[in-house]
Symmetry: C2
Subunit: 227 residues, 2 copies
């Protein structure tokens, strides 16, 4: 399925983002989870360039995604993944090692890997013209490579991080995929293969297409030109 | 209670860390949660300076805490908080707004606030002698202050982030407390009061004392001097 205007679950996403961010915005994560788990969702689009002030009542930092599911509102993509997995009854029972692994890797993705990926995006894209960014880059890449080597060792010969494919993989793969510097991931062949494996899943492809779909008609350049 | 050598739940912590990190190591989080929820725990100490290679099988990045609870192993402090709250049956039922708020703020603490606090610690402490660190500092402080202002607005007049005191507060308060630059938190009076409120809880004080307790006898300087 899953985009359905009558769905209970609504994902807030951006109507358009600049080309370098297209396909990388974090609403990809709950979209992918819904696609994997067969949960229908609808979409609410907001402007990334002029975030409406009312949106900060839903999402305190103005980020996407925000998920509304009936009376329940959830922000932070990691929390939306937990909500969706629980709604679909796709988590192992409380107190099991399988569940603990999913949560451990989910949090590792968001707290031990993504912070360095985000700062690398800052250094390589947003702040690339600053002197400090070029100076900071080597030590940041070194730290990130160290983390990725440890991650590669932990993954070993496994296909996924925590047994069967899980929300932890959705988190980690969308993070690794966002690595701004293309020279980094190829240095970790097993992780590159892991990311490819995730991106080959039909649910990922559907989620990606759904994120990209509204961008052309909301492209500010096209709108100016009246195209 | 809760330190009990016969407890099922074991928290791995460092036997000693340098003074600037004492009281700020992340095993404080599961210790605090156990104290709040009345769960007994025991402690396994490892060296922070020479992390044993076997430990990376438990914790892929060599960080603390790691929690062992019978057959279950959990890493990442955020995941240990979830495990402990679930063990104590201290989370609201699946599908409720209360539960969604706890998870939203827990993930916000680890992914939208702590990354900037960690990088500020890097800039202000670990890399303070690097030219780039001094140049990076103003924009980093600006970003962090922006996040803190939004957080302050979201907290409003509430005592805690998600209704009753929860693991989300344990995460956020231990993060805000770790702000390396003392000039930052006082600029957000409501957050400073929130942190003080958390640190005034007896469970926090017990957890802090328990973290600090083993440091003197494992201080490398004292050991060299045979004190």
């Amino acid at each position: 399925m899953p985009i359905d205007p009558n769905a209970a679950l609504e994902i807030t996403a951006f109507e358009w983002v600049p080309p370098f961010a297209q396909g990388l915005v974090r609403d990809l994560r709950p979209r992918w989870a819904c696609e994997e788990l067969g949960l229908a969702y609808k979409v609410r689009l907001i402007s990334a360039l002029e975030r409406p002030e009312w949106y900060f009542c839903d999402q305190p930092f103005g980020q996407v995604p925000f998920v509304r599911d009936g009376e329940v509102g959830v922000f932070e993509s990691g929390a939306t993944l937990i909500h969706i997995a629980e709604k679909a009854n796709a988590l192992h029972p409380v107190g099991t090692q399988e569940r603990a692994k999913v949560f451990s890797w989910l949090l590792a993705a968001f707290n031990s890997v993504e912070p360095y990926v985000m700062e690398l995006a800052n250094v390589a894209v947003f702040s690339r013209k600053e002197d400090w960014a070029q100076q900071r880059r080597p030590s940041l890449v070194e730290t990130l490579n160290g983390r990725l080597s440890r991650l590669e060792t932990a993954l070993g010969d496994s296909r996924w991080l925590a047994g069967d494919f899980s929300i932890a993989d959705i988190a980690m793969i969308t993070i690794l995929r966002g690595l701004a510097d293309p020279a980094i991931l190829p240095g970790h062949a097993a992780l590159a293969a892991y990311v490819d494996r995730g991106m080959a899943r039909p649910a990922f492809q559907r989620a990606l297409e759904a994120q990209l779909a509204p961008f052309p008609e909301h492209d500010p350049k096209q709108q100016k030109e009246g195209v």
